[in-house]
């Protein structure tokens, strides 16, 4: 709670509340599914295979260990029945928290100049999300 006399920006409350919800959902999903994977509950890749290949680069690791081609998000979104990929889904919920919080805050923005900044951040974060899909197969398709 803000002390009396401190001017509160109306967009602050919305931004913080949405961020807290998504951070909790992401962390809980990641931690629970991660622990299930550690106890060998529905994994695609076993713990020993993961350890044996962990010095390979990320793309080689998934290719050698599970015959999966990474690039984009289908590599884990199409395998959410396995706990190792549900863990990565939890990570992506965490990574989406600032974007969703910013989107939810835009209607509360009172000054045009900050609206421009916020829309710019939303566009940049959206670009970060969709770039691997748009550039799939290109030189920057990482």
């Amino acid at each position: 709670m803000l002390e009396k006399g401190v001017q509160s920006d109306p967009m602050n409350e919305r931004f913080a509340s949405v961020m807290v919800i998504l951070a909790r959902v992401g962390l809980i999903t990641m931690a629970i599914c991660g622990f299930l994977w550690f106890f060998n509950f529905d994994p695609l890749m076993s713990r020993n295979i993961a350890l044996a290949n962990c010095s390979d680069s990320a793309s080689l690791f998934w290719k050698a260990g599970a015959a999966i081609h990474t690039g984009g998000y289908a590599w884990f979104l199409t395998r959410l029945n396995y706990t190792d990929f549900l863990t990565i889904f939890g990570v992506s919920v965490l990574a989406s928290a600032p974007l969703v919080s910013m989107l939810a805050t835009i209607p509360r923005c009172s000054r045009k100049v900050y609206l421009v900044f916020m829309i710019a951040i939303v566009l940049e974060l959206t670009f970060a999300v969709v770039r691997p899909i748009l550039m799939k197969g290109g030189a920057l398709a990482l």
Partner: protein, 296 residues
């Protein structure tokens, strides 16, 4: 390149990672650095994991700690969302570019991992220089506000219980702040680290924010920069349950204890300990990189 010892049980590395990140979580709040900045050099120097997974985990560590502390600061009025949007609207793109560049180097160049290790060692020396030279000002004196920053009305206030009064401040030199955060975002994206090591000094000394407001606002900027940089790593598969889960859980528990320890331990001692540790890791990473390039 180090290959994991096949005779080791699978649980040995998760236990080591949990213990190490727990300690990092304890000392990070005392040293003024984020968890990712300490995790990446230590993990690249002493674990067999590929640098792709280490950088991906480092970013998620920085993101997680920022996501859980930023809302508290924002609700208390300590973090300035206006300053955050002005800076992050430029620095987020630099973070994405850093992440794409970092992953491209390791996947496209024959000795990419070695190049990244040498560059990481050099960055650790840069962080060392920033830590040694930057002085903190709890309440910086009022300076001249440039016309660009003044037009944006970057002012803020919060109630400071230690002083029992409302602290008011005006930001200045926004263009320089944006430039510094963009450079830090690029480095953070490339090496999987947060930007707290440069964010707090820039907001405090360059832009004139009080120390508490600088630390809080830096955290909110890290949420955007780290999230922007994390997506290329997620898309590239640089996320591994074996590393991420023990590290995030370890650092979260450690940070909760570290916040309590901060009241009892002398921060100066921890700060010097961390500086020495980072220099040591910097030397090891440069050695490993040059060894990989067959120079040493």
């Amino acid at each position: 390149m180090t290959v994991p010892n096949p005779s080791l049980c699978w649980w040995v590395w998760p236990v080591i990672l949990f213990s190490a990140t727990f300690i990092i979580g304890c000392i990070a709040p005392l040293s003024g650095l984020g968890g990712g900045v300490l995790f990446v050099p230590l993990a690249t120097a002493f674990t067999p994991f590929n640098i792709d997974f280490i950088r991906g985990t480092g970013l998620i560590l920085a993101l997680t700690s920022a996501l859980f502390s930023a809302p508290r600061f924002i609700k208390a009025g300590m973090a300035n969302l206006r300053i955050m949007t002005a800076i992050a609207s430029i620095s987020a793109i630099a973070s994405i570019l850093g992440a794409v560049m970092g992953l491209w180097i390791t996947s496209a160049l024959p000795h990419g991992q070695s190049y990244v290790l040498v560059a990481l060692g050099a960055v650790l020396f840069l962080i060392f220089a920033v830590m040694i030279t930057s002085k903190k000002a709890e309440f910086p004196s009022d300076g001249k506000v440039d016309s660009f920053t003044a037009k944006l009305g970057l002012v803020g206030n919060w109630f400071e219980p230690n002083l029992d009064k409302i602290v008011e401040y005006k930001a200045r030199r926004l263009p320089l702040g944006i430039l510094c955060f963009s450079a830090a975002g690029f480095i953070g994206g490339m090496f999987g680290m947060g930007a707290g090591w440069v964010g707090v000094p820039v907001l405090n000394l360059v832009m004139g924010l009080p120390l508490k407001a600088a630390a809080a606002t830096s955290m909110t900027i890290i949420t955007v920069n780290s999230a922007a940089a994390a997506w290329p790593y997620i898309a590239n598969g640089a996320m591994l349950t074996l590393i991420i889960v023990p590290s995030v859980v370890g650092i979260s528990i450690g940070a909760a204890l570290g916040a309590r320890l901060a009241l009892r331990v002398k921060p100066a001692f921890v700060r010097y300990l961390v500086i020495v540790m980072m220099l040591f890791c910097g030397l090891i990473n440069i050695y490993k990189g040059l060894h990989g390039l067959a120079i040493l």
